[in-house]
Every structure is written in structure tokens, then in C-alpha cells.
């Protein structure tokens, strides 16, 4: 008879609130250019949400802001407006809106946008994110976990994997700030990441291991490019990891209860 508040928009707004430290650090660092870039991605992302609301009667979501924010922060620089519009449109529409909006998508639309831009326009240089933004990723992740909108197991899985690889001598150190930023912005999206317990651990660990693999063997790639690629692959594997975790859970139950 009474209603709680954990509906989709609350979760989106809490995610946004959790990412605020990073957003502020990034805006402080980038100044007017960054603000303009964010405004532009917001307009494009908002346009598609509006279009789907008017044409498909699909309620828009604040998740569009999350997409815009991630794209503004991580998209390659020196892209023309048309290229940026093309990328965001592809990501928002194909990865999210055609599935029925945020919550029904398989991949994070920002991840798809960034992968599209990265593969489509390889000549554009990836942004160089300053160290304070990397530090700001720590409070962002902590807030997300505290609010319960990001999974602690996923974050811990990633941190453990990265720490292990670092200890094993993989040259990861210069990648760490970007790894944290991408972890907060893309990997720990509650919809596109694994939702089971074991799946969450595996998903985080996979992201960390892929990042280590790229750091060791991908010559000439920018840190953001490696992190986004790792996020894309980890996100693609998430349903499989969930399926594995579920199968194990059911097997354990069957052994216990016959």
C-alpha cells in the first residue's frame, strides 16, 4: 500500500549524484571547453530521448544525462560536431532506446558510443584526463556503493585484479586514474554489468585483467582507449558471467536440496 522510492529515475539520479565529484573535477580542469562539450552531448542525447518519447511513447530517463556525461568526458578530441552527433546517436539509439529505454538495454550506451567513435575515427586523439579526476573517481565509487546503485563486489573485483596484476609487474601504474574513471562511468552501470553475486566479482575482475592485458601488449594505445575497450568487452561478457553464476547457484541448490 505504501511505495518506496527505488524506481528507475531515483536510481539514475543517485548514479548522477555519485558521479558529481568526478564531474566537478573534470569541469574545474577543463573549464569552458569542457562545459560546452557536456552541453552539446546533453542536447544530442536529450534529443533522442525526446524523439523516442514522442514517437514511441517511451518515458525519457535521466540516464540520458549519464550517457552524455560519460561521452563528454571520454570521447576522442578533435572530432567534428557531425562525427560526435553520429556517435552519440548510434550509441543512444542502437544500444539503449530501441531496446525500450534504460533498464532494458544490454550494453551501456556510452560504452557503445565511445567504441563506435574509437573504431570509426581512429585518427582522433583520445583525451588525456588529469590526475585529480582520477582521484575523484574514488569518492564517486564510494558514493555509488553507499547508495547501493553500484555493486561493491564489482568494484572490489576490479580493484583486486588490478592490484594483483600490478604486483605481478604489469606496467599498469599510468593507467590507474583512467581505470578508476572508466570503472565509475561505464563498468559499474547497474544495468549493463553482471547482476549476480559471483557474476559481479567476475565482471570486475575481467575488466581489471583485460586492462592489464592491454597495458602489457597493446602498443601505442591511449589509456582511455584501453580502458574503454576493456569496459566494452567486460560488459559484453556480463550476461555470460551471470549465466555461469546462475548455473553454479542452481547446481549448488540442487546438490543441497536434491
Amino acid at each position: 500500500m505504501k511505495q518506496g522510492l527505488w524506481d528507475r529515475e531515483t536510481v539514475a539520479l543517485l548514479l548522477l549524484a555519485a558521479l558529481l565529484p568526478m564531474l566537478l573535477a573534470w569541469l574545474w580542469d577543463g573549464g569552458l571547453t569542457a562545459a560546452g562539450r557536456l552541453g552539446f552531448t546533453l542536447v544530442v542525447s536529450g534529443f533522442w530521448h525526446l524523439a523516442f518519447m514522442l514517437i514511441r511513447a517511451q518515458p525519457p530517463s535521466f540516464a540520458g544525462v549519464l550517457t552524455a556525461l560519460a561521452v563528454a568526458m571520454l570521447a576522442p578530441e578533435d572530432l567534428s560536431l557531425l562525427q560526435l552527433i553520429l556517435g552519440i546517436s548510434f550509441g543512444s539509439v542502437i544500444a539503449e532506446l530501441v531496446f525500450g529505454g534504460w533498464g532494458r538495454n544490454v550494453l551501456n550506451p556510452a560504452t557503445v558510443t565511445l567504441a563506435f567513435l574509437g573504431f570509426g575515427f581512429p585518427a582522433a586523439p583520445w583525451p588525456d584526463l588529469s590526475l585529480p579526476i582520477g582521484w575523484a573517481a574514488i569518492p564517486a565509487l564510494a558514493l555509488g556503493v553507499l547508495f547501493g546503485v553500484m555493486a561493491l563486489r564489482l568494484v572490489l573485483g576490479a580493484v583486486l585484479a588490478l592490484a594483483l596484476c600490478l604486483w605481478a609487474g604489469v606496467p599498469l601504474a599510468p593507467l590507474l586514474p583512467v581505470a578508476g574513471i572508466v570503472l565509475a562511468l561505464l563498468v559499474s552501470d547497474p544495468v549493463a554489468s553482471a547482476s549476480t553475486k559471483l557474476g559481479g566479482w567476475l565482471n570486475g575482475a575481467l575488466y581489471g585483467l583485460l586492462l592489464a592485458l592491454f597495458a602489457a601488449h597493446w602498443q601505442g594505445a591511449a589509456p582511455v582507449q584501453m580502458a574503454v575497450s576493456a569496459a566494452l568487452l567486460a560488459s559484453l561478457a556480463a550476461p555470460l558471467l551471470d549465466e555461469i553464476a546462475l548455473a553454479l547457484w542452481i547446481l549448488r541448490r540442487r546438490m543441497r536440496h536434491g
Binding site: 500500500m1 546503485v149 551471470d242 541448490r253 536440496h257
Partner: protein
């Protein structure tokens, strides 16, 4: 375990309850009713007419499909009104309290040693209706053999009375009731909660709602299956069985909690089953419009009478319709497809922390019966998902989806 005690995101407000050490008053309401549970169909053969005088515990009607099962008078009373729908389906039977009325005595000879006679006694005394059979959550069929019986000595619903308090001072009755129940099943007799008496196997439950509901407990310890139903009942009902066996009389009252924001002060009282909710709350509510629910604020529904298994009455201030809702917001709320549920820590906790929440929500939303069975959903009922419905505030109620899916599975199994 840490996750069993703490989880991010969901804090459930606990209504204040009176000090359990205070004496609990017995309040029989003037009116009471016998009625089917929500969603239940009872085709009945009446044994009394309107205006007849009945003793407390006297059978009022028998089921047409199972004449052994009787519905009994919750108090000594005069039959005020009998409402039947076409097909002799019971709508309600209203009783007026008669002071100084008699108590109906049941023949309990030999019932304690003989499962068949015990079964007949339970069915005849109306205590059979207190038992709930999972899967599907119905009253068990007259000859159903349970794979296990779970007695709930714990209730984590917000504002629920402590079952330990309900059976305090009735340890002998409880032990006798449990021994009797143990004879009804070839499987284990489980007791969830503190201080399990002798024949029952104790089960530890977590302190966070819904870990103290029968559904999550069974899901974890003894999943119900279509071929192997599991019964559950509260410790107070088990003690009632013991009291009936010992004395031949049906205990006249049960312990309930009256809570909610529309009350001046919460209360613990003993009242009869099927009590009149207005009668229970009249002297306690604050001025102004309010809604009375039978059950907790999470899983209860608006009602006139106390539900047959409910131990809680909740009085909530009537929700004000927002006067000028913007047309745009109203249009969004009426979208053809509702916003989906996002898996969060709050949802995990709302489902007990043990279930793969996202997979269950997906199976329910997609109407995937096989997926639900694989996840152990046959052990669950509407009340077990009530907290998730509350937490997500979603328009697509999980409890409703679960009921629809369970009904479909029952129909496919030929059990409908």
C-alpha cells in the same frame, strides 16, 4: 554474515510497538466475519441460517468439494448476515457477538496418536485453514501429504507482533501442537525462530525483513515443489492445535498488533479471528480520513475484517490525490510499457539477499514459468515479494506477476 545484517540502500521504518512486558488486553469486537482469503474461492454448504445463535468454535459451513473441512464461528454469536455469490461461493458471513455464549466442544479422543483422526479434527475445527501449502499458497487439500512442515516462530514484517510473545506461557500447548504436526508429515518439522521445542528442527533466520517470512526461509532450507508441497503456519496456530488437543476447545483469541501512522498510539491486543477492523481501531485513530488494512503496510490490503492468517492491522492516513497533476507527468505514467526495475542493493535486500534478484525479476516480468521454477520461485508467495514491490515503487507489481505465474503453473499441472 555481514550481508545478512547490513545492506546499502534500503532502510525500512519500523513502527513503534508497545512494550511487550505490558499486559495485553483482550478485545473482542462486536462484529466479526468469516470470509475467504483474497483470491480464494470457497463453495460452501451452510450449516446455520441467518439469526441462528452459534457457540464459539461451532462449524458454520462445510466446503462442497471437501465436506470434511469446516469454517467455524470465531466467537459466541448470532448470525447477522450471510452473503453468498452465485454457485454458493462464500462472500462473507457476519456475526454479532453474544455475551455469555457457549463454546463448542470437539471430540479429540484418539486424535493425538492417529494422524487420520488428527487430520479430521483439524479440518472440522477450522484450524486446517490456518495451514498454507506451498507452492501456490492455498489451504491444503484434505488428503495432501506434506514433504515438510514449517512453523514460523518469527515475523520480521514491520510492526508485526513477536510470535514468541503470542506463545509465551503456552509452551505445553506449543509442544503438544508440534508433536501432533510432526505426525502429519513423513519429512522434517521445521521451526524458524528462537527456542524451538522438542520434536521440531530449529532453523536460524536473519533479522532483516523479509528473512523472517516463511517464503525466504523455505526457499533456503526446504524448497517446495509441485510434487512435494510444504506447509507453513505460525507458532500461535501450532499452539492452538495443542490447546485444542488438550482441552477440546478452540482458543478464542489471537495476538495482533495495531499500528500505522493514522493511530494515536500503537497497540497489542488479543482479538478473535475475523475481527471487525473498525471496531478494533475506532478508539485509537486520529481524526481525519484513513484506510484500514488487514496485514502489514507492505503486504496488507484494504479490508473490513481481519484476514484469516493476518496478525496485523494497519491504519494509514488516506493518500491525498494530488490536485493538479501535470498532464505531461500523467501521460508518462500511462506509458504502454512501464519503466523497468533496475537491479540495486535495495532490490537484493528486499528479496532476502539470497535470491538472484535480477534473474527473478526478469523471469517474473517475462512470465517465464520454467525460469521461476529453476530459481526456486515455487517456495514464494505474494507476501514474500511485497517488500520488493514497496522498495522499487514500480507500477508492475512483482507480487501480482508472481500470482499470475503461479496460477498458470497450477493450471498446467492440473491443480487449479
Amino acid at each position: 554474515m555481514l550481508p545478512a545484517r547490513f545492506s546499502a540502500g534500503l532502510i525500512l521504518p519500523q513502527p513503534r510497538l508497545p512494550d511487550p512486558a505490558d499486559p495485553v488486553a483482550t478485545e473482542l469486537t462486536v462484529e466479526a466475519a468469516v470470509q475467504p482469503a483474497p483470491g480464494e474461492t470457497l463453495r460452501v454448504e451452510l450449516l446455520v441460517t441467518e439469526d441462528a445463535e452459534v457457540a464459539q468454535g461451532q462449524p458454520l459451513m462445510r466446503l462442497k468439494t471437501a465436506p470434511g473441512i469446516a469454517l467455524v464461528a470465531p466467537m459466541a454469536a448470532r448470525v447477522a448476515r450471510i452473503d453468498l455469490q452465485p454457485g454458493r461461493r462464500l462472500s462473507q458471513l457476519v456475526l454479532f457477538h453474544e455475551a455469555g455464549g457457549a463454546r463448542h466442544a470437539f471430540d479429540t479422543r484418539g486424535a493425538e496418536g492417529d494422524p487420520a483422526r488428527l487430520r479430521a479434527l483439524l479440518q472440522d475445527s477450522g484450524l486446517w485453514r490456518m495451514i498454507r501449502s506451498r507452492p501456490f499458497g492455498r489451504m491444503p487439500a484434505p488428503d495432501e501429504a506434506p514433504a515438510a512442515i514449517l512453523v514460523m516462530g518469527r515475523d520480521t514484517r514491520p510492526g508485526a507482533p513477536d510470535p514468541a510473545l503470542a506463545v509465551k506461557g503456552r509452551e505445553e500447548d506449543l509442544a503438544r501442537g508440534l508433536s501432533a504436526l510432526a505426525s502429519l508429515t513423513a519429512g522434517p518439522l521445521l521451526y524458524a525462530g528462537p527456542g524451538a521445542p522438542a520434536p521440531a528442527r530449529p532453523i536460524a533466520t536473519g533479522p532483516l525483513h523479509p528473512q523472517g517470512l516463511a517464503g525466504p526461509v523455505l526457499h533456503r532450507h526446504f524448497p517446495a515443489r509441485t510434487g512435494a508441497p510444504v506447509w507453513d503456519l505460525t507458532a500461535e496456530d501450532a499452539a492452538d492445535i495443542g490447546a485444542l488437543l488438550a482441552t477440546g476447545f478452540l482458543p478464542p483469541t489471537r495476538l495482533i498488533a495495531i499500528t500505522g501512522e493514522a493511530l494515536r498510539s500503537p497497540a497489542l491486543v488479543r482479538c478473535q479471528p475475523g475481527a471487525d477492523l473498525r471496531g478494533l481501531t475506532r478508539a485509537r485513530v486520529l481524526p481525519g480520513p484513513h484506510d484500514l488494512l488487514s496485514g502489514s503496510a507492505l503486504d496488507g490490503g484494504p479490508a473490513l475484517w481481519l484476514g484469516s492468517r493476518d496478525r496485523q492491522v494497519t491504519a494509514l492516513p488516506r493518500a491525498q490525490r494530488p490536485a493538479g497533476r501535470h498532464w505531461f507527468r500523467a501521460a508518462l505514467d500511462r506509458a504502454a510499457r512501464h519503466a523497468p526495475i533496475i537491479p540495486t542493493a535495495a532490490l537484493d535486500q528486499a528479496l532476502g539477499g539470497d535470491l538472484p534478484a535480477a534473474a527473478l525479476v526478469r523471469a517474473l516480468a517475462a512470465g517465464d514459468a520454467e525460469g521461476l521454477i529453476r530459481l526456486g520461485g515455487l517456495s514464494l508467495l505474494e507476501e514474500d515479494l511485497a517488500l520488493a514491490d514497496y522498495a522499487t515503487g514500480s507500477d508492475q507489481r512483482l507480487a501480482r506477476q508472481l500470482r499470475a505465474l503461479l496460477d498458470r503453473i497450477a493450471a498446467e499441472e492440473g491443480l487449479a
